[in-house]
């Protein structure tokens, strides 16, 4: 029997910016067999990089390979650690040459469903384009391949494992160790990082006892108009900035949550004004995409710059309707920011309700995600040959 709560939760699945959905004919069935639960749609995949098992496997090796950095120190996995739901536990990341990055490493969980990538860009709409930045950017240097890619590819060519992996992933390509193929393989691997196995998902899929009473109360709070969480963090992926194979015009949602308002001017810290950096529009100051809340208990600290340390403090932030900084060069009242989202208005939250909500958020943790061998480090496994599977 479907309870009222169950019904509410089922409703949550379908809440993805309804105005933006247009149903298009499904494309021809791809060769790749996604292993997705029934409640998950198929991710969008760029036409010029169809998924194959071989690309995914090559991508797994490259993702974990520190030789893909200018000084051999840093691989994708350095900032996207499986045990931390593919983020790194830091407020902001540090690049291969120790330059501090301005923003926090985003979790790669369900990145295949992102409508846009990075914290605030309307332009970066595929993993392939996004990845060019961590690999090649100079300002700041992340993996630092700018100018170094040929040396790096020579190293890869010299590794006995890669010729087989590259040939399998890009059959018929005489010189497959090229940056275009590296990017396509890593993108294919990242697309497989799908988290759909939390206790919340068990509940959705019919297991009425999967969530306990506090968690169920927390779910109701999450969906309430009093708290408004679901407005930005709704849908099957707990973010409105999602899309999938059947969405013709993906929503590109960015929100200002009132984190800063330096001197009342609307400014966020230098280099971190969110969408404003792309559009130059004042109304885009401090607008960032809402990340997925799946596995949120594992991805502290929070916000684009990691400036909120715990989930408890996150709830404080939203309950206050924003953050006011009293002193220092960042002083200003974010609650008054003129571009602040209309859904961040503050709310009352009793301590019992706070516990329930936190319990629900913890129930979004997918234990299989952090331990599944399909995303594990093939170098650590001591594998001397490519996996046959």
């Amino acid at each position: 029997m479907i309870s009222v709560r169950h019904g509410i939760a089922l409703l949550l699945i379908g809440v993805v910016a309804p105005a933006a959905i247009a149903f298009v004919a499904r494309p021809a069935v791809p060769v790749y067999a996604w292993s997705l639960p029934a409640s998950f749609p198929t991710p969008k995949v760029p036409g010029n990089n169809p998924m194959t098992r071989q690309k995914v496997e090559l991508g797994r090796w490259l993702f974990h390979d520190t030789r893909l950095s200018v000084n051999g120190s840093t691989a994708c996995v350095t900032c996207h650690v499986q045990a931390l739901a593919f983020t790194d536990g830091k407020a902001t990341a540090t690049g291969a040459t120790n330059e501090r990055l301005p923003r926090s490493s985003m979790s790669l969980v369900n990145a295949a469903y992102n409508s846009t990538f990075d914290w605030a860009s309307t332009n970066v709409t595929t993993l392939e384009i996004q990845m060019l930045r961590p690999l090649f950017a100079q300002d700041p240097v992340e993996m630092g391949l700018d100018g170094a890619e040929e040396q790096v590819f020579e190293l890869l060519r010299g590794d006995s494992r890669y010729p087989t992996l590259f040939a399998a992933a890009f059959p018929g390509d005489n010189d497959p160790v090229r940056w275009q193929n590296v990017v396509q393989a890593i993108a294919s691997f990242v697309r497989t990082i799908v988290s759909a196995d939390s206790r919340y998902d068990e509940y959705i899929n019919g297991s009425a006892n999967a969530l306990n009473e506090p968690e169920l109360r927390g779910l109701e709070l999450f969906l309430s108009e009093r708290l408004e969480c679901f407005h930005c963090h709704g849908g099957f992926n707990f973010t409105d900035a999602s899309t999938h194979d059947n969405v013709a015009n993906p929503p590109k949602q960015f929100h200002n949550t009132g984190l800063y308002n330096i001197g009342g001017s609307g400014a966020y810290p230098d280099g971190n004004n969110g969408l404003h950096e792309i559009t130059g529009q004042d109304r885009d100051r401090g607008r960032f995409r809402a990340p997925t809340l799946r596995n949120i208990a594992l991805t502290h600290p929070y916000m684009h710059d990691g400036s909120i340390a715990t989930l408890d403090s996150v709830l404080d932030h939203y309950a206050a309707g924003g953050r006011s900084i009293a002193e220092g060069k960042l002083a200003g009242d974010g609650r008054q920011h003129r571009a602040k989202s209309e859904f961040v208005t503050g709310f009352e939250l009793s301590s019992a309700e706070r516990e329930d909500l936190l319990a629900f958020l913890h129930a979004l943790t997918d234990k299989s995600l952090v331990s599944s061998p399909q995303w594990s480090d093939p170098f650590a496994a001591g594998a001397s040959h490519a996996s046959d599977d």
């Binding site: 010029n48 990089n49 990075d118 860009s121 309307t122 332009n123 970066v124 709409t125 595929t126 392939e128 384009i129 996004q130 060019l132 930045r133 690999l135 090649f136 950017a137 100079q138 300002d139 391949l145 700018d146 100018g147 170094a148 890619e149 040929e150 940056w179 275009q180 990017v183 396509q184 230098d270 950096e277 792309i278 559009t279 130059g280």
Partner: protein, 280 residues
């Protein structure tokens, strides 16, 4: 410099400048007896200089020899030449399917640590027979090529070093110097671009410069005057002083001005003083 051509007293390029590369095209033209004029070829050879002195990665230059080149790569497109009658004719880059050429004046040595060993200092163009004394070109990638997928782009749009990841499209120029051990660089391209990276609808600031080279001839290189490009830049400004294309960045405003681009529109207001005709 080309030595195969027959030299004439008139050193503006003329019919003798046919080269091996265009021979096939020339023969095809002749055999087909079609309405193609006998095109002639010429090279635009670029040279980086500071105050008239040649600049390379391996030698210090500038005031008190305090500067080192760290980078100098830029795209050239939409080339045309003006004849004696004052008529501008479009020149077609030979062997360049995209119509865009990457000029790469750094060789990865010396202070050019993020550079590439490959270099390219010239463009081979085909143009109808005639006498030409001025050249124009656009510094940058034309809009219709600037926002294609870099993963599938043809050379020279296939180099990730020139692709601009947090904006859409390419860096039209990337240049840098090291002054008293501080590195400074400029990356400039279109900004305020709307739309997904591979389907941009428009850019608020196109930021393509226009170059016009007067008194041009085959014997004279097109000089990239670094002194003009860098005029007014304060190299040790805090925080970084780099120009990464932002319109509200003081260093970018200086570079845009030096390139003859109006900051408020991203459009050229005149020819960039950075490019001129040099003496051999």
């Amino acid at each position: 410099m080309r030595r195969g051509a027959i030299s004439t007293a008139d050193d503006r390029f003329g019919p003798q400048a046919v080269t091996a590369k265009s021979t096939a095209g020339w023969l095809a033209c002749a055999m087909l007896m079609s309405a193609c004029n006998a095109d002639i070829n010429a090279e635009l050879v670029f040279e980086a200089r500071y105050d008239g002195e040649r600049v390379g990665c391996d030698q210090p230059f500038g005031p008190a020899r305090s500067m080192h080149l760290t980078d100098l790569r830029f795209y050239v497109a939409e080339i045309s030449a003006r004849n004696d009658a004052g008529v501008w004719t479009r020149a077609v880059p030979v062997d360049s399917p995209t119509g865009v050429i990457l000029i790469d004046l750094e060789d990865g040595t010396g202070a050019c640590v993020n550079g590439s060993t490959a270099t390219n200092d010239r463009v081979l163009i085909a143009i109808p027979d005639g006498h030409y004394d001025a050249i124009r070109f656009t510094l940058g990638v034309p809009f219709d090529r600037n926002h294609a997928d870099p993963l599938t782009a043809e050379h020279p749009l296939d180099t990730p070093a020139m692709h601009w990841h947090w904006q859409s499209g390419y860096k039209f120029i990337r240049a840098g110097v090291e002054v008293n051990h501080r590195r400074w660089h400029v990356h400039l391209g279109s900004t305020g671009c709307r739309g997904p990276a591979t389907a941009v609808s428009a850019c608020q600031y196109p930021n393509r410069a226009l170059a016009q080279i007067e008194n041009w001839s085959r014997q004279r290189p097109v000089v990239v005057a670094l002194d003009a490009l860098l005029e007014g830049i304060v190299f040790d400004a805090e925080p970084s002083g780099h120009c990464l294309g932002e319109t509200d960045n003081p260093a970018c405003r200086i570079v845009l001005q030096n390139l003859g681009i109006a900051a408020h529109s991203g459009l050229p207001t005149g020819a960039a003083a950075v490019f001129g005709s040099g003496n051999r």
